[in-house]
Symmetry: C2
Subunit: 739 residues, 2 copies
């Protein structure tokens, strides 16, 4: 070939080779090549889970869970521990791991050999009347030998006897009213009705005034929309039968009473029983309204105020002693005999874990208690039935290899909740360090379905947006065109300065196992359920609450036929759970806390300002703190929007997520309320004052108003104001740029 | 061409093209291609920093810092605030940002118009002797009008007058010995010497026994290796001149006394002065040994025990009253007149930040206080001179773009440390949330050079390995073939079960600004300095401590000619800082805590077991907790070794680093020692007992031994045992696998 031909061929070959190199380098992506997109919430997966949550399976779960009474630590409770372990260890539908955590805790039980009694005794000593010792066997379940006699857990044993008085709800002001009416309370037995104040408070308040024993009943006006006849009540309607008695814990704090701040493990420091604070100081016993009617409709003395009247069909009087022309001689006394005993028992939690794929050291917890008072079909088994269905669906996806959450998911079945949130509290004590550092959120579904009308959700403000997002993706049960969100908005709403009209998210008290998570650990928490249409019933709670009538039949026939509300709760809770476990950026909106804080501040300025200003106490530092928080939250929101466009740096994402996670923690101050076990969250501690603001500040102002000349009382106000401002500033600092 | 030729050419060309593609794809790494190695500690950078830390610049820093007295909040202190801001905002050698944080804090000052006095008054009222009001002007600096008169900060004003007694070091047992010797302490003035117990304790203990006023002096036997003549002491040697007086804070806690647990910002809740706990209850005044000699060598009464004797050249007697044949009539009294006042003053911290490149939300803090008592060349300016040199070298690298740390570095110049670690404590209160979540470590270099013999380091166990690594890379000053580590090992060592013979790392008390970081926040902390050869001096501390003789000349002539020990401290501290800020995996060895815990357990078993076992109190749960911790730490160590081989997943690295960071936090229990402000760390709280074990347990056992029949005392023992076990289990849980 000629030289130019050779050159041409060589150049051509070189070009071809070079083209190959270029194509090979730029044209073909390398296998483990840069930045696969980070794991984020998958809408398709969300849809799969929603569709797989099955009403019928929830129904069958509930049938099994509520088959027998399963009070904490009883053999049936232990059976259910095994059931949960089996479900969560199932090779096809279980979780990565499941284990049992046992605590030795102090519970209180009646004495089977010596039942508690309530009797009317004539002046001569004859027994004129005895209250029922058990509920009427209306549907068979009430005759089960495992049904525990109605009692007031942790009320002390004793046999007080005295004239009967009626003390309404047993609040401090109720007893004061009786005294103001000239009723000598010393040595009396006070008949009170449930509601208004906590169970234990009825006895604590009474004892302060010399009351010797307390009876508690449920008035049909408070629970039954006034229904009270056998043919009007269960099993003929959802209403409480006349013999039904609400059991419950009368301990004033929560957690194992003998080990405050220690997990009840072998190393726990245990108080002597005599040193325990918060037990009712006097014997107390709950009774049904059938028996209460006998006592109350025969009571003498002046008529009770209108607000104290109920639906027993007679005029309620104050006592002391009985009516002249009534069923019992006027000076007859009431004898309350209580044989309760406290006992150390082994109570179990069951924990199940799905290990996170990307951030295993971030936990989303979902829990409910397992123990009931009797069969507990509603409380707690409706929630446990939902828990088992959610864990089945997610577990199956994990076992199939279809899905693994970004963060770790921890399912919990708590023990001994009914005695005072004991299992969950001991858990937070044992795993305090790990949870405080690594828990993103706690979801509680205790009673899943109180009634079938609308969602009811409670939570701290960062939970609002994620619950809303979830509720918008779930069809409302029985209303084909509405979502759970729409229906909720119709039933319970408020006007938000930033969002317009939105459903009302309630705040968290200490009514279920979220208490230690939010108050002690500062973990963003929420509680989800279906509940009443408040325009259709004034029932304080579902009528058979804590009675032997809370059965599977009750749920199937009256609360949720077809279990579609259970399904809606399961879908809403699972959707919330997945958003928390899988979203690359945590779905918390910190500026929703701005709205809460601004509201608290305005309430303080309006209601407390006029009292504080003349004392030289300024709310300005608190206002400045709230302003700083608002600014920090708004800037973080902006930063998050920017980050969403370029979320490839895992540490940058983690940094923001940590700020979101730790925000709730920043409101903790373990020295804020030293006398209130576990309450460290400065915003959500119990508030006795009616002013909807920082609870420590509001309560201190209320106290100072009672003793306006005591400088110590005003020092407490200043201290609580400072605690509030410090918490808000600390929270703002958590949200501000890191360096 | 023939078909086979054509085929051959085509195949050949295709092969060439394919080869090109293969080469292009596999042979040439893509530009922004996978996994650039994660930022880790760079030995070359470490070498650069070590070599740039300049002794001469430290010397010049110190000359400027110690030019004038700069007691907290004085004009010169404010000048130095500006100096620090200028240095840290310098465009060539400054940091990313520097700012001033101001707190309004309660300090205590003598009254310039009415100086405190100490006088001997004859029975007739004649003044027979007056102690010096200021130190002798030996080198010019002592005459500066800004030199504060010697005083006991926070001692109350008053004019007690009474017979003199000698109370040795003013401990509880010292006063008890006096009483046992028949000395009536009521209304007396107690002369005490520094050492043994804290400053304030001398007055607190005395007041319990009726003492009316306290004098404190420094005995030449305790500070000067017995030297006491002017020609033997500064400026002729490093020894304390006869007129030198140690100033100091007599407050028993730390932090702003008027705002415990609140940062002294405008929103702080402030105690009324009368409500503050921890001030000396009686007037107290320090004096020089020249004056103490006049009092003590003329004192009457029985001879003091041998252990109470000192080096003033006479036999010390107990009093009360003077010798018959001495300088003062026997019944002469001593009058102590104190005019101290507390005042709210604005004290500043200066903070300087280098933003982390990879993990800006992880902080390594390095701090020292800025305020002195007088010129404070040693205390604290030797440390500040080192701080400025380290920040200059690192700042220059940052400004040049040569280097940026992996984590954020925060430099701090604290205010008002001398009054009770106030600036640093207020900082930890204000930024509690952020520090608790995000601080990796705190390095303190207060007095950089006490003396030039050897390194002295204190810290919590995870700090040990990183300080060792640093000390092995720094040449020992003046010993060309040894490292700082070698020299330290020679001077102070111990036998470790795991490491063999190693230098002794001291534990952290509350002697400098690390206190709030370790005790209140649970941040792994350390304190680094150069110090004495204990075989060559028995001085309690460097002799001119807190006197007007602590000057630049003192440092230059006696402590560290050439500033090579300063340089060695700068290198060791900077090396430690860089290891903490730049290492991909935090250089903490958790199993070093195993050794500490095992040691604590063994001491408890040996010394406390024989007392506890008969009471039915078992150490078994604590032993189980320690075993669990050891196992968790060992497993984590293994996991870290594995991770080192494949550290490419940033979240996996972060997870382990968080466990390492949070380990120290896990030992916190804010309810462990409620009466001791800020002490939450269960392992390092103050221990009065001599048993080297868990301090709460040891102290409770000591107390119970005093009242063995009191069940409450033994309940406290059980409670503290439980607190210790819970802390160890919580720490183990922090180290165990996350899910």
């Amino acid at each position: 070939m000629q030289w130019w031909k050779v050159t041409l061929v060589v150049v051509g070959l070189a070009a071809l080779f070079g083209l190959g190199i270029i194509l090979g380098h730029f044209g073909i992506p390398k296998k483990d090549d840069p930045t696969p997109p980070p794991q984020d919430l998958d809408q398709e997966l969300l849809g799969t889970v929603m569709s797989q949550l099955d009403a019928h399976r929830i129904q069958e779960n509930l049938r099994e869970l509520s088959l027998k009474p399963h009070m904490a630590t009883t053999p049936r409770d232990e059976d259910l521990v095994r059931l949960l372990l089996q479900r969560w260890q199932n090779p096809e539908s279980g979780l990565d791991a499941a284990e049992q955590g046992v605590y030795e805790v102090l519970l209180s039980f009646p004495n089977q050999e010596q039942p508690n009694t309530v009797r009317v005794v004539s002046p001569g000593g004859a027994i004129l009347f005895s209250a029922r010792r058990s509920e009427e066997n209306l549907t068979g379940e009430q005759g089960d030998p495992e049904v525990v006699q109605p009692y007031a857990a942790y009320a002390p044993a004793g046999t007080p006897q005295g004239l009967l008085v009626y003390a309404n709800r047993g609040s401090e002001s109720d007893y004061e009213h009786l005294k103001a009416q000239g009723v000598n309370l010393t040595g009396t037995i006070a008949l009170t009705r449930y509601g208004g104040v906590g169970r234990g408070a009825k006895a604590v308040n009474g004892a302060k005034h010399g009351v010797a024993g307390v009876l508690v009943y449920t008035d049909p006006g408070d629970i039954n929309d006034n229904l009270k006849l056998p043919n009007e009540t269960f099993p003929n309607s959802w209403a409480l039968p006349p013999s039904g008695v609400e059991r419950g814990s009368y301990y004033e704090h929560f957690g194992d009473p003998s080990t405050p701040y220690f997990p009840s493990t072998p190393f726990a420091f245990r108080l002597e029983n005599a040193d325990i604070q918060g037990f009712p100081p006097i014997p107390t016993q709950p009774i049904g309204f059938e028996d209460a009617q006998q006592l109350l409709c025969n009571l003498g003395g002046s008529p009770a105020p209108a607000a104290w009247q109920g639906a027993l069909g007679c005029q309620y009087r104050l006592g002391p002693g009985f009516l002249d022309n009534g069923q019992f001689p006027r000076d007859s006394q009431v004898n309350v005999t209580v044989h309760n005993r406290v006992e150390l028992r082994n109570s179990s939690n069951v924990l199940g874990v799905i290990r996170g794929a990307v951030e295993p050291d971030r936990y989303v917890l979902y829990g409910n208690h397992r123990d009931s008072w009797v069969h507990g079909a509603v409380d707690p088994s409706s929630g446990t039935a939902v828990l088992l269905e959610i864990s089945r669906v997610l577990g199956t996806l994990v076992k199939k290899g279809t899905w693994r959450p970004r963060r770790s998911v921890v399912f919990a079945s708590w023990g001994a909740e009914e005695f005072g949130l004991i299992g969950s509290t001991e858990f937070t004590e044992e795993f305090f360090t790990k949870l405080q550092e690594w828990a993103v959120a706690y979801i509680n579904v205790d009673i899943a379905v109180f009634a079938n009308a609308t969602l009811r959700a409670q939570g701290t403000p960062p939970a609002q947006s994620v619950i809303f997002s979830a509720a918008k993706q779930v069809p409302a049960p029985g209303k084909s065109t509405l979502t759970v969100y729409d229906s909720w908005l119709q039933h319970s709403n408020r006007s938000s300065p930033t969002h317009g009209v939105i459903p009302s998210l309630g705040s968290l008290g200490a009514g279920s196992d979220y208490a230690a998570f939010v108050h002690f650990l500062g973990i963003t928490s929420m509680d989800i359920a279906y509940t009443y249409d408040r325009s259709k019933t004034s029932a304080r709670i579902y009528p058979t609450y804590h009675t032997a009538f809370d059965t599977f039949q009750y749920v199937e026939s009256f609360l949720d036929p077809g279990f579609i509300s259970h399904q809606a709760v399961a879908r809403t809770a699972a959707n919330t759970l997945l958003r928390l476990s899988d979203s690359l950026l945590l779905p918390f909106k910190t500026s929703d806390y701005s709205e809460t804080l601004r509201g608290f501040l305005q309430a303080a300025q309006e209601a407390l300002g006029p009292v504080l200003t003349p004392r030289g106490i300024s709310l300005e530092p608190l206002a400045a703190a709230v302003g700083r928080f608002e600014q920090a939250a708004a800037k973080l929101d902006q930063h998050i929007e920017t980050l969403k466009n370029n979320p490839s740096d895992p540490l940058k994402v983690r940094m923001v997520n940590d700020q979101l996670m730790l925000l709730e923690r920043a409101f903790l101050n373990p020295r804020a309320f030293p006398e209130k076990y576990y309450y460290s969250h400065v915003l959500w501690a119990p508030r006795t004052s009616s002013v909807p603001t920082f609870p420590g500040l509001a309560n201190a102002c209320e106290e100072a108003a009672k003793t306006p000349d005591d400088p110590k009382a005003w020092a407490t106000v200043r201290k609580q104001l400072s605690i509030a401002a410090m918490a808000v500033v600390g929270a703002a600092i958590t949200l501000e740029p890191v360096a």
